[in-house]
């Protein structure tokens, strides 16, 4: 049974329902946007990142599954807190409902705050050129629909990030900079989705190495360690 790939580090997506967690992951893993329906429980994905296997847990945002959040978060190396930029409440929920779930995460867990669905805002105009290699065939359609005034701005996310550090009793100087860890994405157009996941994975790698050095198990058990070959081989397999 030792032949199976054991995950080296865990990344968890948290956030209210309908903010687009599954869509983000779907965009990243399958390179396309697809209408999804509500996730049940949590879904587990394995992503080869250089020599490492990063496990990603896409959790259900529904309150029904709230009790499970801390289970999915256990030992997580990174937590991606996701909100919808058009929905203030979804940002508030991150602090009210989801932050406490991360208590079971690894003590040096990295936090990223992601505002999704920027394609629906009036700032959408900037999207195509910044991410013109986005594989979606026609981002045009997404821009025709009436744009709403963006409800949540990056500054709000940055403020939340700082409060999270405080909650975690972390010094701002030791943690990654807020500006670096707050993202705005669009799963629909693909805008900054890769950037988000790649940034997070790159930051998880040193944690994996550190944990290995300390011999800490990240998840249930780690039966085999592949010796860390090169620190970072850049991109996905």
């Amino acid at each position: 049974m030792g032949r199976m790939k054991k995950p080296d580090g865990k990344v968890v997506l948290l956030g209210d329902m309908n903010v687009g967690k599954t869509s983000l992951l779907h965009r990243y893993m399958e390179r396309r946007f697809q209408d999804t329906v509500s996730t049940v429980g949590g879904a587990f994905y394995l992503k080869q990142w250089g020599p490492y296997n990063v496990s990603i847990w896409d959790t259900a945002g529904r309150e029904q599954f709230h009790g499970l959040g801390s289970m999915y978060c256990r030992g997580a190396a990174a937590v991606i807190l996701t909100y919808d930029v058009n929905n203030v409440q979804s940002l508030i929920e991150l602090e009210d409902r989801f932050l406490a779930l991360t208590d079971s995460a690894s003590t040096d867990c990295i936090f990223a705050i992601v505002g999704n669905k920027v394609d629906l805002t009036d700032e959408c105009a900037l999207l195509p050129e910044t991410e013109d290699e986005s594989r979606s065939k026609k981002p045009i359609t997404s821009c025709i629909t009436a744009k709403a005034q963006k409800q949540v701005h990056v500054e709000d996310a940055v403020a939340l990030y700082k409060r999270i550090l405080k909650y975690k009793l972390l010094d701002e100087k030791d943690a990654p900079a807020a500006e670096k860890m707050c993202f705005e994405t669009s799963a629909k157009t693909g805008y900054k989705v890769d950037y988000l996941f790649e940034t997070v994975f790159d930051m998880v790698v040193p944690l994996i190495l550190q944990h290995r050095a300390e011999g800490l198990p990240q998840t249930v058990d780690i039966s085999i360690y592949k010796p860390a070959k090169q620190a970072k081989s850049g991109c996905c397999a």
Partner: protein
């Protein structure tokens, strides 16, 4: 009478009047209808002597029922234990409810605009009736956005509502629950009014629709239906809805929530699950699995099914209780932990609800889902942890592993890897995906080789108890005349009708030969099987019987492919070497067709 000459009927022999369908041709059919239908219903297949007796017994009953379809429904009061007093008559009951509407409206301000619901649902017969055809409902973006004051909303074939005892809306199949809160208030008022008389409301019948009420703990479920389903069948559907809710939340937690806070808004917990319930309600209407309460297996060579079962049997870990392999939404095989099988078995209901939940949930192949799920018939208060993963890129082959241990994701995931590897190396996966064209999961009725036969549903009943077998059935794909949703509904209306006659609480039948407008149907139940068949309209009675004989012979020949006959199980300790074989060893005829 017509019975002697069954060749003629199709033209005028509308044994069954479908109010919603009788558009042009025969609006006055009711008159000519009754003499026809009596003998038709009566005609028994000579081969089965006892069925003649049963049929004769049924005669007096079948007359009024056939005629009046909905308004008559006289057996309702009888089956209506809890409803006492003057409720014996339908009219009386309607009056009561009418009065109830106004009464409570004046006392309880929740019901202020109860008029909105009053006229259409209870007294609606006249207004909605004549034009009550299956009006093509304008396509609304989603059912949630539907305008609940629109005529099209009222014309829906079947509404289903779920509300809390405090009258709070929880779910509506069409339209936003919020917009329906006053309507739901009225429903709750009806329920509690009857309750205050130490009674329970079960149903209200009007000209063209039935309202059925089911109360389960703190939840009230209401169905408002224009279909021909019996009260019993509608009740069963509501129970499916209830169980689906339980499968997500468990019974204890719902009870506990409402104990703590009577007016809790359960939608908070169910938010996002509406699609699961929507999908369930669509399925219930056109998937015989629900009507027959049995599982449809993917037709497979027995050897392949056995090998797959053996594979599941080997790939186990502690706390694994059920392993279920599904392809194209049909069961391939299922393996149970041995001690579990001794006191319980997997209920078809639980499997249906589980599969519905999975299909209504987003997934793509790379992901492995880990979620708590309750099997309400198995244990309404406990959670299993379900591991769900697709084995092929098209997401047609799905593996479900149920564990009792919340923390066992990684070890269960490892079982999947072993199963997947085994299937790949043996080429089983290709065999499963190639088992039919991707669109038709089952088989064509043409395989039976009788031209008059259009469709059938066959459920063996004589499964030996020691196998603790899942009730199963087999049924071909719906073909040409039944492609459209409308025709499918029509056929299933007929099946539902036959089913309700066969399973009528007060006067069950063994055999019905039923000539409908566009097809002829025959339903037959013996101690060995339950069978529903649909023929082309021109079949003769002798012809139909002939077809039945051929069909039964065909099923007998194919039974190893169509059914799981020797369900495997595994031992409680994850020791593949010692796992118990499914019982093939005793070699005895399992009796599926012993009587034929």
């Amino acid at each position: 009478m017509e019975a002697a000459d069954p060749d003629v009927p199709p033209a005028k022999g509308e044994g069954l009047e479908i109010p919603g369908e009788q558009t042009g041709p025969c609006p006055t059919e009711t008159d000519g209808d009754e003499p026809d239908s009596v003998p038709e219903e009566l005609c028994a297949i000579p081969a089965e002597p006892d069925s003649v007796v049963e049929e004769a017994g049924a005669e007096p009953d079948s007359v009024p029922e056939d005629l009046g379809t909905i308004p008559a429904e006289p057996p309702a009061p009888q089956s209506n234990g809890p409803l006492s007093t003057a409720d014996g008559k339908v009219d009386a009951r309607e009056e009561l409810s009418d009065k109830e509407l106004s009464d409570s409206a004046s006392t309880d301000n929740v019901l202020e605009d109860s008029s909105e619901f009053g006229p259409p649902a209870v007294a609606v017969g006249g207004s909605g009736g004549p034009a009550g055809e299956e009006v093509v409902v304008p396509a609304v973006t989603t059912h949630r956005d539907e305008d609940v004051t629109a005529e099209s909303w009222r014309k829906r074939r079947k509404h289903v509502f779920v509300l809390s005892e405090a009258g709070k809306p929880i779910y509506s199949r069409y339209g936003n629950e919020e917009a329906l809160s006053s309507t739901m208030g009225v429903m709750m008022a009806l329920v509690s009014f009857i309750q205050s008389g130490d009674n329970a409301i079960r149903s209200i019948c009007s000209d063209d629709r039935k309202l059925v009420f089911v109360q389960q703990g703190p939840l009230v479920l209401v169905s408002v239906s224009r279909t021909l389903q019996s009260e019993q069948q509608l009740r069963q559907e509501l129970l499916y809805v209830y169980y689906q809710i339980i499968s997500m939340l468990t019974q204890v937690s719902i009870t506990r929530i409402f104990e703590r806070k009577k007016n809790y808004d359960l939608r908070r917990l169910l938010a996002g699950s509406e699609k699961i319930l929507d999908r369930l309600l669509n399925l219930v209407e056109s998937d015989p699995s629900f009507l027959l309460n049995a599982v449809r297996c993917l037709p497979l060579p027995a050897s392949l099914r056995d090998s797959l079962g053996a594979l599941l049997q080997k790939a186990i870990t502690s706390n694994l209780v059920f392993s279920i392999l599904v392809a194209r939404s049909q069961l391939v095989t299922t393996v149970q932990e041995k001690t579990v099988i001794e006191d319980c078995r997997l209920e078809p209901t639980d499997l249906h609800l589980l599969l519905n939940l999975i299909s209504a949930t987003s997934a793509f192949q790379a992901g492995e889902i880990w979620t708590p799920i309750c099997l309400p018939r198995f244990n309404p208060d406990g959670y299993f942890y379900a591991y769900i993963s697709y084995l092929d890129a098209e997401c047609t082959v799905c593996l479900i592993l149920l564990s009792t241990d919340k923390e066992s994701f990684y070890s269960v995931s490892d079982c999947k890897k072993r199963i997947e590897e085994g299937m790949r190396t043996q080429g089983y996966l290709q065999a499963l995906s190639a088992g039919g064209s991707s669109q038709s999961p089952s088989y064509s009725v043409g395989l039976v080789g009788v031209p008059d036969l259009r469709h059938f549903m066959y459920k063996p009943l004589d499964i030996p108890e020691n196998y603790r077998q899942l009730p199963q059935f087999t049924s071909p794909e719906l073909e040409s005349p039944y492609h459209s949703e409308r025709e499918r509904h029509r056929l299933f209306d007929l099946y539902h009708y036959l089913h309700s006659r066969i399973h009528s609480g007060c006067r069950p039948l063994r055999l019905i030969y039923h000539v409908a407008a566009k097809e002829t149907l025959l339903a037959w139940v013996t101690s060995k099987f339950e069978l529903y068949t649909c023929f082309s309209p021109l079949v003769t009675k002798a012809g139909a019987i002939n077809v039945l004989t051929k069909l039964l012979r065909w099923i007998k020949k194919e039974e190893d492919r169509l059914f799981i006959r020797y369900p495997p199980r595994y031992s409680p300790t994850p020791n593949p070497g010692k796992s118990v074989k499914g019982g093939r060893s005793d070699g005895a005829e399992n009796g599926f067709f012993a009587g034929l």
